[in-house]
């Protein structure tokens, strides 16, 4: 993994180690007395960086309206998305910026504790954050206590209701939360849960103000996005302003080929035809094309690869990552994965294509969390972008690349057997 910087903000002044408290304060200014008001937060227009792009100020207001004796601030650095590396890169560069953001939010909410959640498998990140927390102790900063929690890193473990449920009862299972914003609680305490990158940006807004924050990015999505770019065996993290043309991001990341297609947002994200390289990387520019930025992921599929085969592998992974609590997800995703497998090989795939489209419509919106919706979105955009390939595969003529080396990274799923639906 290498690091390239284009708009240096939360990844500013990358060293070869996570910045110590002294280095951090030398770079960004003192953390002592740092604070943010709800007005400043609202004016900054900051939206969540974890994928849903929900306005952070609205979440804070929602929590301030609730009468709570106890409140918690949770930093979500679970990063269950296999194509994303940004939270780890951020915590390996400026851990104190993330902790500053959590600290000012905790002070705004009068919360006693900040809980940083990092997947158990990310041992380096856990030790880096623990070291950073220890350094802060010596600074005698006013504010919350800090702790690290490390749930097992399954795909849905970072979903907000699943994460809060884990903090309550050690189970990473998404919960049924019919209202938005979701009411999250640890015990009887209210919870503000935001992505690590969101916290880091708030650490900067507290220093430089809302006006400064809005200087880059677009009107509706101000600021930068820490983007994980993958393709052709490379995994690069760079920070760019929202609205930066995808072409510039790819060239900055050193991807020289003309991509066949782009996967944006993550494995529950959206496919975009390879010709749309001049579109800005922000949700408003991408929405007319049926795509979005999600968790800041761009996977550039090389020309000599098979979109159908990549989809089959990714949906197979996503189906196995289902928490298997809701019928439409537990049964629907494996059924879709099976049809995609048939299509990828080109054997007995005559009806698979029509079935994928009709099942997409049936499954969508019927899970407790958005996991099945993400897969449906992924499949639906794939059927559109790779329409020709899908038709050829369905007719029994798979392309020459279908059995080639895979592009997308699929994590090892060692514990899938235990969760296999009976």
């Amino acid at each position: 993994m290498t690091l390239e910087l284009t708009t240096r903000r939360v990844l500013a002044n990358h060293l070869d180690h996570p910045k110590t408290m002294t280095e951090h304060e030398a770079d960004f200014g003192s953390s002592k007395g740092l604070a943010i008001t709800i007005d400043e937060l609202r004016q900054s227009g900051i939206t969540g960086r974890g994928g849903a792009a929900f306005p952070t100020a609205k979440k804070v207001e929602f929590l301030l309206q609730q009468r709570r004796a106890t409140r918690y601030v949770v930093v979500n650095a679970m990063e269950g998305e296999p194509a994303a590396h940004k939270d780890r890169m951020l915590l390996a560069t400026n851990p104190h910026l993330v902790l500053d953001g959590a600290m000012v939010l905790a002070n705004l909410l009068n919360a006693d504790a900040v809980i940083v959640c990092i997947a158990r498998e990310h041992v380096t990140t856990i030790s880096q954050v623990k070291a950073a927390i220890a350094q802060r102790g010596a600074r005698r900063l006013q504010g919350p206590s800090f702790e690290v929690q490390s749930p097992p890193g399954r795909y849905v473990a970072g979903e907000e209701s699943a994460l809060v449920h884990w903090l309550n009862s050690n189970e990473t299972l998404p919960q049924y939360r019919p209202t938005r914003p979701a009411l999250l609680q640890i015990g009887r305490g209210g919870v503000l849960l935001d992505n690590a990158e969101t916290h880091a940006n708030i650490g900067l807004i507290a220093r430089h103000g809302a006006e400064w924050f809005r200087r880059v990015g677009t009107a509706t999505r101000p600021g930068t996005t820490v983007t994980s770019v993958t393709g052709n065996g490379k995994a690069i993290v760079l920070e760019v302003a929202y609205g930066t043309p995808i072409r510039s991001i790819l060239s900055e990341a050193g991807i020289t080929y003309e991509p066949l297609a782009l996967l944006l947002g993550g494995y529950g994200g959206t496919w975009l035809d390879g010709q749309h390289l001049d579109v800005g990387f922000d949700d408003d520019s991408l929405r007319p094309l049926g795509a979005g930025t999600g968790a800041g992921v761009i996977m550039a599929l090389p020309p000599e690869s098979c979109g159908v085969a990549e989809c089959a592998r990714i949906v197979d992974y996503m189906a196995k990552e289902s928490a298997r609590q809701c019928g439409p997800c537990a049964f629907g995703l494996p059924a879709m994965a099976e049809d995609l497998r048939a299509l990828a090989s080109g054997h007995n795939a005559g009806e698979s294509l029509a079935r994928l489209a009709s099942r997409s419509a049936v499954i969508e919106g019927r899970g407790a969390c958005r996991h099945p919706d993400g897969v449906v979105r992924f499949v639906r955009t794939a059927l559109h972008v790779f329409a020709e390939d899908f038709n050829a595969h369905a007719a029994g003529h798979p392309c020459g690349f279908a059995h080639g080396a895979p592009v997308s990274y699929i994590p090892h799923q060692s514990d899938v057997k235990d969760l296999e639906w009976e």
């Binding site: 938005r180 809701c326 019927r366 407790a368």
Partner: protein, 85 residues
């Protein structure tokens, strides 16, 4: 603003185990997918429709997993409802 009161059924998909009793008790409002899980009518129905209301109540009471609820929607709320089934 007129306060038209409407209702619709919602399911907790985690509780639901696909017994399918709801589709028997309220076939006007519930169909089952190929795996036996309910697909509920998204469109709210008016309070004045006594027969639909009765069917919905039977389905709610008849669910062995107690996964169904009958949700009352006032006109002001209906615009901000999430698109869920």
């Amino acid at each position: 603003m007129g306060r038209t009161v409407t209702f619709r059924m919602v399911v907790d998909p985690i509780r639901c185990d696909g017994f399918g009793h709801c589709a028997e008790l309220a076939p006007e409002l519930v169909t089952l997918d190929e795996w036996g899980y309910p697909i509920l009518q998204v469109e709210p129905f008016p309070q004045s429709d006594r027969e639909l209301h009765r069917s919905a109540q039977l389905a709610v009471r008849g669910c062995p997993r107690q996964a169904l609820t009958l949700q009352k929607i006032t006109a002001a709320q209906s615009s901000e409802l999430p698109e869920r089934r």
